[in-house]
């Protein structure tokens, strides 16, 4: 053996053990070399890792450890000194690096650890956020539910739909077991179960409103948790042990449609309904705040919707009522129009149809009157005429009354002969009174003006009505008519307290009193007399015709004439006095205006008066002359009388409009007088009209008269009416067409 610088191995070479060591070192070295490679590879891959320097150190440390172990492989056998030196160098380096690394790691590892805790923290946070996200999502969903519920509630104005929808949607949203609504009864002392979701409780069940739990709920506008055992939260015993939590909230019942946001008005009548919500039993669910808030919001919305629904209901009801009333009113209006039209048609028909025969009767009776009649016949004809005139009056009465009611009647104001009017009334009433053997007296006061301005026809109507009534209701005795001018002291009559006559210079008040000796009137019946169509039973005799309209019409006419009318009676059987006062204008004579007078017998256009008409009367018989003169003077003419033909020719002038000649005048032949008159007046319009008065109407006389140019022949005796119509015809036509 050579002396070599070999190092003897530590222990004797045990073949197996050495072999194992040899292999392990080999593998360790391998691992030590590959680990840094892996590290480098992965570090290169990840950009994030902040401690590269540490890795390098670590790598170096590992490499050197590997190198050490590798070199260790050579030491198992005899090895040279170099190997030993390298081995030692490697070991030294390794020691250095590993110490450095150890020192380095002291800095690093807390950091690494803190990263870990942060990671854990973040994970927890992420989990929490997830949870909260879930919650928010749920809330969002419930919010959507609320909006939808509100929309559903507010989209309908039907109360039941509102409430049902509320319960259904709430039940769905909050997954309730039961949801119930209790409404106050009409009396307000009880709450009645009105709506339920799942019908666990019977509808119609009531609880008194004064329960403490209910008061508690009503006293706040928040949703209140109540005990599941309270009467409002009762349920059918369902065998479950743990009933779910119950919440109740008040629902204000309002009738206001204007709600300011967050500004609920203070309610004077606080009526509430109760909404009770029950969570499912045997679930661990609890009421969450957001759910309570949801419930409160829904309760408010329901309140609003209900009030709207109530208002709408009311307005619909009012509208229906109005429509019904409208229909009824329309019908009534149409009926009234029909009635008015029917009445007008009836009046028009009556006007025409009834007047036509009346006209015929009156006309023919008047004509009959003018023919030769015996006195009895004359009386009969006069009665016919008067009666038919009264009937015509009645027809006119009814028409007048209808026009009076319409307010369409106007007075026909004009000048008229007041005295004449009374006389005419007298003439008209005399026949009837004489039939009943009643006397009629007329007394006109001396200061009563002869002419007045007013509605003659209506005044006549009033007079005829009153006098007619007086005659009608008197069986014996008579009627006395008196007329005078009312003086100021007698103007205010205690029996006419509403009557305030104001006399003036242009007007005077005519006061007429008609006293009869008839059956009288019960003082209690007097007010009724002026009512239309009312006839007191005691007054109605079997002879009383008439419709009962007369006095009513009189009253209206009198009122139109600014007057007053009343009746007095001392009682039944004691007669009756009718008094009326009317305002008339003071009129002058009728010279200025010759107003034609429509006489009651509408035969011809007959003048009533011929004021100032200059007439010459030739008659040799004094009496006859006087009578004719009186006749003409009565008609208002200015009469000159002559007793012979000569005087006649001397007196006649172109001022005279008519010359009446009595045929039996001796001396100058009357026919010659006529001829002479013709000669005297060459122009036609200058010449007076010549009329012969004769008791003889044979054809010869007539022809002779007409041959000499006479304008007419009149048969004696001449009545006032006849003379009137003669003069009318002469003045209208200039000739007498018929021999009168």
């Amino acid at each position: 053996m050579e002396a070599c610088n070999c190092i003897e191995p530590q222990w004797p070479a045990d073949e197996l053990l050495m072999r194992y060591q040899y292999i392990s070192d080999f593998f360790i070295a391998l691992a030590y070399f590959s680990i840094p490679l892996e590290l480098i590879y992965f570090v290169k891959k990840s950009a994030v890792f902040p401690y590269r320097w540490v890795l390098v150190q670590f790598g170096a440390f590992i490499v050197l450890c590997g190198a050490t172990h590798l070199i260790n492989l050579w030491t198992f056998t005899m090895h040279s000194r170099t190997v030993a030196i390298v081995m030692t160098a490697a070991k030294v380096l390794t020691a250095a690096v590993s110490c450095a690394t150890a020192l380095m790691l002291v800095h690093i590892i807390p950091d690494l650890l803190s990263v870990k805790t942060r990671e854990l923290f973040l994970k927890n946070k992420a989990a929490e956020l997830d949870r909260e996200m879930g919650l928010i999502r749920t809330q969002e969903e419930t919010g959507r539910h609320v909006r939808m519920l509100t929309h559903e509630i507010r989209s309908t104005l039907d109360r039941h739909t509102i409430l049902k929808t509320t319960l259904v949607e709430l039940g769905r949203t909050l997954a309730l077991e039961e949801c119930a609504l209790w409404m106050p009864t009409r009396s307000g002392v009880e709450l009645q179960l009105s709506y339920t979701l799942r019908h666990q409780n019977p509808v119609g069940f009531t609880v008194p409103i004064q329960l403490p739990v209910i008061n508690q709920v009503f006293s706040t506008n928040r949703a209140v948790k109540i005990s599941p055992n309270s009467p409002v939260a009762r349920r059918r015993p369902s065998g479950r042990y743990m009933p779910g939590e119950v919440v109740a909230v008040r629902v204000p019942l309002l009738h206001l449609s204007n709600f300011q946001i967050n500004d609920w008005p203070e309610l004077s009548t606080k009526r509430y309904a109760l909404m009770v919500l029950m969570l499912p039993s045997d679930s661990a669910r609890q009421w969450h705040v957001h759910e309570l808030e949801l419930v409160e919001v829904v309760a408010d919305q329901v309140a609003v919707a209900l009030s709207h629904a109530a208002i709408l209901e009311e307005s619909m009801r009012a509208r229906d009522l109005l429509m019904e009333q409208n229909v009824a009113l329309d019908l009534a209006r149409r009926e009234a129009e029909t009635a008015v039209r029917a009445r007008n048609d009836f009046l028009a028909v009556m006007n025409h149809e009834m007047r036509t025969p009346m006209h015929a009767i009156i006309a023919l009776s008047s004509l009959l009157q003018e023919t030769e009649l015996t006195p009895e016949q004359r009386l009969m004809v006069e009665t016919i005429l008067k009666s038919s005139n009264l009937l015509a009056t009645l027809i006119n009465d009814v028409l007048d009354l209808s026009r009076l009611e319409d307010g369409s009647l106007r007075l026909d104001i004009g000048p008229f002969d007041l005295h004449g009017l009374f006389k005419e009334v007298l003439n008209l009433i005399k026949p009837i009174a004489s039939v009943k053997k009643l006397f009629v007296t007329l007394s006109l006061s001396s200061d009563l003006p002869e002419y007045a301005i007013g509605d003659e026809k209506r005044l006549m109507q009033i007079m005829l009505n009153i006098v007619g009534n007086a005659v009608k209701f008197s069986k014996e005795g008579g009627i006395s008519i008196s007329a005078f001018v009312a003086k100021s002291d007698s103007l205010r009559d205690p029996r006419a307290p509403d009557f305030f006559p104001v006399p003036s210079d242009n007007h005077f008040y005519l006061r007429v009193q008609v006293k009869d000796t008839g059956s009288g009137i019960n003082p209690q019946d007097i007010p009724k007399l002026f009512t239309k169509f009312a006839q007191s039973q005691s007054l109605a005799t079997k002879n009383s015709g008439g419709s009962g309209l007369g006095l009513a019409i009189c009253k209206r006419f009198v009122n139109l004439m600014d007057g007053h009318i009343w009746l007095e009676s001392d009682g039944l059987g004691k007669g009756c006095t009718a008094v009326f006062m009317v305002k008339l204008g003071i009129g002058g004579r009728l010279n200025e205006a010759k107003i034609p007078y429509a006489s009651r017998a509408p035969v011809n256009h007959v003048w009533t008066n011929f004021p100032g008409l200059k007439v010459l009367v030739m008659d040799d018989n004094g009496v006859s002359r006087m009578v004719t003169k009186g006749l003409l003077v009565h008609l208002g003419c200015d009469v000159t009388t002559v007793g012979s033909g000569d005087e006649c020719l001397r007196a006649v002038s172109n001022e005279h409009k008519v010359v009446f000649m009595d045929v039996s005048v001796p001396g100058l032949d009357i026919y010659e007088v006529a001829v002479r008159i013709h000669e005297k007046f060459s122009k036609r319009h200058d010449r007076p009209l010549i009329v012969a008065l004769t008791g003889n109407t044979d054809r010869v006389t007539k022809e002779s008269c007409l041959r000499v140019g006479m304008d007419g022949v009149v048969l004696k005796p001449v009545s006032v009416d006849k003379m009137r119509s003669v003069l009318s015809e002469l003045l209208d036509h200039g000739v007498l067409l018929e021999s009168q």
């Binding site: 007296t441 040799d620 004696k716 005796p717």
Partner: protein, 151 residues
Amino acid sequence: MDGVIQLQRQLVDYTTSLYKEGFLDDQFKQLQQLQDESNPDFVIEVVYLFFEDSERLLNELSKTLNQQNVDFKKVDAHVHQLKGSSSSIGAQRVQNVCIAFRNYCEEQNSEGCLKCLQLIKHEYSLVKNKLETMFKLEKQVLVAGGSIPMH
């Protein structure tokens, strides 16, 4: 008031009887109609005129008829006048006699005429009495404060 009514009734009854008995006819009514405020005494005036006229005529008639040679024309004229007057008044009966008288005149029957004259005188005095009574009654009524009933 009752007294007046009584008088009025009396007057009315009387007047009615005159008409019924034919003393007066419708013409008298016509005369009464002509009486009014402007002519308050028309009837009386006419009636008295008639009285005057008739008396005169009757005297003339007596004279004429009592002559030897009766002038029938004159008689006729007078009677005609009387007839006219009485018809104007409405003295019916007088008028009727006048008509008969005229017939006799035409026949120139003096016997008949004289008889008629007597008759006329009689009728005339009758109607005169009646009318005067009537006027008296009217006056009484007026004095008592009533008014003349017209019918």
